[in-house]
Amino acid sequence: MTAIPLEAYMLLSIVIFGLGLFGIVVRRNLVTVLMSTELALNAVNIAFVGIDAHLSLANGQIFALFIIALAAAEAAVGLGIIISIFRLRRVESTDEITDMRG
């Protein structure tokens, strides 16, 4: 049985990472932006796991595990902040939170 080549993993992860960054830049909805950052982090996970399979090591998977955990924490905090933004002012778009300028 042939293993999936590293290039495939890397390509996938790069594509997803790019999508994440693209989403952060282009999307306007607060939650979508947050999700895009999480997407980018998950792309890193794919890369790590793929590299691990390629090198037959385990360190990358541990890294991926930590990324999962901390990304979750970040998402939790992010959602909290978004909710409190929403409670203060009914905004949904990043265009609307530009009180501070200069």
Partner: protein, 125 residues
């Protein structure tokens, strides 16, 4: 190879699901009526078109809690499998981990995240 079986099964189930979804469109009668595709409102005329408004923030909190605890579970799974080889050290590590988790749960508890108070100031306290 194990996963190939899984993949095949997944394909079969996906196909099945798609078939079952589309069967009604093929087999069912088509009798268009003006009101038939209105959302169900107990017969009362529709108040507003979108129901996708806000819901109780308790659900958000549940979501956040799930996020955190499920992830911590992901840390515990590897530990459960190799616990045999870790000995006392593994036990202490796990104990600390669980302790911290319990603290997190306690925190959510004390801060009222688990009580569905139907008032505004849950997050703020």
């Amino acid at each position: 190879m194990d996963y190939m079986g899984l993949l095949a099964f997944f394909g079969v189930m996906l196909a099945l699901a798609l078939i079952l979804i589309s069967l009604n469109a093929l087999l069912g009668p088509k009798t268009p009526e003006s009101m038939e595709d209105y959302p169900y409102e107990c017969g009362v005329p529709l108040y507003d078109q979108s129901a996708q408004s806000t819901f109780h923030q308790g659900y958000y909190l549940l979501g956040l809690l799930l996020l955190l605890f499920d992830i911590e579970a992901a840390f515990l799974f590897p530990w459960t499998v190799v616990y045999k080889y870790l000995g006392v050290f593994g036990f202490i590590e796990m104990f600390l981990f669980i302790l911290i988790l319990t603290y997190g749960l306690l925190y959510a508890w004390r801060k009222g995240a688990l009580d569905w108070q139907f008032e505004e100031e849950v997050l703020e306290r």
